[in-house]
Symmetry: none
Subunit: 407 residues, 2 copies
C-alpha cells in the first residue's frame, strides 16, 4: 500500500506520446461523516455533473502517502503527480519560499523564519510573537533588509510569508544547508546559536549567526517581535521535471502560491493566479488551446473550509465546483481525474490521513457504474484502495502514454 | 499492496505523544467456512458487543506477512506491532527460548533441540522420539545438565519446551551462531556433525560437538530418546523497543509464554500470566490505571481450537471474548483494535495465510457501518485489504500520535 519509489521509474521507461490529461484536485476534499447530517461533505453535496461522469468512470480510494500518514499539501500533490513523497522530501524552508512564489534557484539555501518574543533574560516567551499582523511582518522585514549587513560572496533575501512567518534565502557560492535549527520549538529557553553540522557548513553558520545577531539588535525595541527563530534549512535542488520523467508539458492553474510554487518546481508552466474558483475554470478553458499535455486545476476552498471546521461551506465549494465541471468536459480531455491531495475533515479542522476518493474518466476506463463521488461510494470502485503514487501511472495509461512492458 | 519496510521508519520520524491504544488480538481467529454450517467461526459467533462497536469502527482485512505466507505467531505479532517481519527475523532457537519465558540476554546463542531416536547404525528413525512426554523431557534435560561438561568461558542452559522439544542456550564471550543444523530433517540418515559456517564460529562448533557427543553417551540407554538434533542457531540481538520506535510504553497481558517473551523482547512491561480468559480481562482492567500507552491483550483459545480442528470450540471462545469486550470499552481507550495474528481454520487444523479481519474503533475512525466482525463482512470495509504492518501506523494516527508529514 505504500508508494514504492521504483514504480514510477518503470513508467519513465515506458513513456510515449499520447493524449491529454486533466487533474481536478479538490484540496482536502476527503472527510468524515458529520454528526448532525450523518454524511461527509462529498456525500452531502448535490453534484449532478460528477454523478453523471461517475457512471462512466473508474473509481476508488487513494491513500496519498501511507497508512496513518497525514500529508502536508506538498507531499500530497507530489504523490498525485507521480513523485514518491517518501523519496522527494521538501524542507520547510523551500516550501515556505515556494509558498510565496519566490523564484528559488538551484543551490539557494532557504530557512523558515518565525518572529518571536524573548524576555529580558533572552528566553523565548512566545514563538509566534503574538501572531503579529502580516503588515508588521512586512515592515520588520524591510527594516532588516536595510539594516543587516552580511559579508559574503552572494546575496540574501528575507521575505514575509504571513503573520509571524517569513523566509530567509541565502544565494551564493558554497552556501550550505547543514545548519541546525535555532528554533528550540519550546518556550522558557533562549534561541539556539546557529551551528554547522559539518565543517563545510561553518562559513554559512557564521553568516546565519551574523544575521541573527544583527536582527536581534534591530528588533530590540520591537517587542513582541524582538527575536527571530530559524528552522528547516534546505539547499534547493531542482526535482526532475514532469516533462523529463513522463514527457508531459504541464500547466498549473491555482489560486494559492504554494501550489504554483510546487508546480514550477516540477517544470509546469504556471498561469497567473486566478482570483476566484470561476476565474480558475475560465482561465483553464482559455489556456487549454495552447496544447499542454497535463493540466492541473487546483481548488483550495474545500481545504480552507475543512480547516475552519465549516462543514456546510465545504459542501458549498464542492457544489460550486460541480457546476463548472461541464466546462472541463467541454474541453474533451482524453483523461479527466477528479480527486484530492488529502482529507481535511471539518470535524477535525485539520489535514488527516484518511484516504480520498478518486475518479478516472476516460474512454478506456473500466466504468464502475457507481453514481456518486464520495469516500463511501468509492469503496466499491474497481480501482480499489491504493497509494496516491499509483494515480499517475493509471492516468498515463488511460492517455495511451505507456508502452507495453516486455515483449 | 506490499508493506515497504521503510514505512515504519517514517512513523518513527513523525511520532509525538498522544492517546492510548488497546490491541485485542484473537490468536488465529481468521478461518474458512465450515462445511456443515457454511460459515466461518467469526460469522457463526453471536457477538452483540463486537457488532455494536463495528458500526462505529473502520474495518478491513490484514494480510499479516505477505501473500501466501503463513505467519508463525512471532512474525504475525511483529507485523501487528509495526515491526516488518521480513526485516526482523526471529530464529527458531530464540523463539523457543522466548516461548518458555527464558531470560535471553544479548549475545546468547540459542538453538532448538529435538529429542530423537536413532538405530544401532546411528540412523535417525524418529525425529521426535515418539513425541515423548514433557515429564520425560524434563528428566532427560536434568540428566544432561548434570552429566555434560562444556569447557568454555561461559555458561550454558538446556531447557524443556514441551514433548520432544527443548532449547539449548550458550552464554559467554565470543559464542557465535554460524553453526549448521545437525538436524537433517529426514529419517534413515545419521544426525549431521555440528559444523561452523565461518572460522569465527569454529570454537562454538567445537562446543556444540562436545555437547552432542556427551549427550549421546548419556542418552545411549534412553531409547526412544537416545539422540538430540539441533537447528536454528541464532545469536540474540535485542530489537529496538516499542518505546524507542513509537514512544509507546507497552503492557502485555498474555497467558502463553511465547507472547510474553515476544513482548518483553520489544520492551513491553509484561503482566504475570493470567490463568484464564476472564482473568486476562480482569488483569488488564486492574493494570490499565497505570497509564501505559499501548495495551496488548492476547486471547489464545481461538488458535488452540483452530489447531485442534474444533470449529465449535473456536466459536465459543469468540463468544466468551465478546462477553468481556464491554470491559475494554469501559476503560475508554482512545483507540481499540480487534484483530488476529493469522488465520487458523479449523478445517485445516493449522495456521494459514488467509487475511484476517481488523477493526479500529476511535473517534476519528471513518465508520463503515458494517454490522458484524468477520472475514466476509470486513471485505467491504474502508481499510481495504492491507499488509499487517500498516496497522500500527493507523493506530498511532487515530491516537493522535503522528505529526503531519511535510508542510
Amino acid at each position: 500500500m505504500t508508494g514504492c519509489s521504483d514504480l514510477s521509474s518503470v513508467w519513465e521507461e515506458l513513456v510515449r506520446d499520447g493524449g491529454r490529461i486533466v487533474y481536478l484536485v479538490l484540496d482536502g476534499a476527503g472527510g468524515l461523516r458529520d454528526r448532525t447530517t450523518g454524511k461527509t461533505a462529498l456525500e452531502m453535496a448535490r453534484t449532478p455533473n460528477l454523478d453523471r461522469i461517475m457512471r462512466q468512470s473508474a473509481c476508488g480510494l487513494l491513500e496519498l502517502v501511507g497508512p496513518g500518514i497525514t500529508p502536508g499539501s506538498g507531499p500530497g500533490h507530489l504523490a498525485l503527480f507521480g513523485y514518491d513523497p517518501l523519496h522527494y522530501r521538501l524542507g520547510r524552508g523551500v516550501l515556505s519560499a515556494l509558498g510565496i512564489d519566490f523564484d528559488l534557484r538551484e543551490g539557494d539555501v532557504a530557512a523558515r523564519v518565525n518572529f518571536a518574543t524573548v524576555d529580558d533574560a533572552g528566553r523565548i516567551t512566545d514563538r509566534r510573537a503574538g501572531r503579529l499582523s502580516s503588515e508588521t511582518n512586512r515592515r520588520l522585514c524591510d527594516q532588516l533588509r536595510k539594516a543587516v549587513q552580511l559579508d559574503f560572496d552572494g546575496t540574501w533575501f528575507l521575505e514575509t510569508v504571513a503573520e509571524h512567518r517569513a523566509v530567509l534565502v541565502l544565494r551564493g557560492k558554497g552556501v550550505a544547508d547543514e545548519i541546525r535549527d535555532t528554533d528550540p520549538q519550546a518556550t522558557g529557553v533562549p534561541p539556539r546559536a546557529p551551528q554547522a553540522r559539518t565543517d563545510a557548513a561553518q562559513p554559512t553558520a557564521e553568516l546565519v549567526r551574523a544575521f541573527v545577531n544583527q536582527a536581534h539588535d534591530v528588533l530590540a525595541d520591537e517587542a513582541p517581535a524582538n527575536a527571530v527563530l530559524l528552522r528547516g534549512f534546505q539547499r534547493h535542488a531542482p526535482l526532475p521535471s514532469l516533462q523529463e520523467r513522463f514527457g508531459l508539458r504541464g500547466l498549473c492553474v491555482a489560486q494559492y502560491p504554494m501550489y504554483r510554487g510546487l508546480s514550477r518546481l516540477l517544470g509546469f508552466e504556471v498561469a497567473d493566479a486566478p482570483h476566484s474558483l470561476d476565474a480558475s475554470f475560465d482561465l483553464l478553458a482559455r489556456r487549454y488551446g495552447e496544447g499542454h499535455d497535463f493540466c492541473f486545476l487546483h481548488v483550495k476552498g474545500t481545504d480552507r473550509c475543512g480547516e475552519d471546521g465549516d462543514f456546510q461551506g465545504k459542501v458549498a465549494v464542492i457544489e460550486d465546483t460541480d457546476r463548472r465541471l461541464s466546462d472541463l468536459l467541454d474541453l474533451q480531455p482524453d483523461v479527466l481525474v477528479v480527486t484530492a491531495d488529502h482529507s481535511t475533515p471539518a470535524a477535525m479542522a485539520a489535514h488527516s490521513w484518511h484516504p480520498v476518493p478518486v475518479l478516472i474518466h476516460a474512454a478506456s476506463a473500466r466504468a464502475d457504474g457507481i453514481s456518486h463521488f464520495d469516500e463511501y461510494a468509492c469503496r466499491g470502485g474497481g480501482l480499489g484502495l491504493r497509494p496516491g503514487l499509483h494515480l499517475m501511472g493509471l492516468a498515463l495509461a488511460h492517455a495511451g502514454r505507456l508502452n507495453k512492458f516486455g515483449a
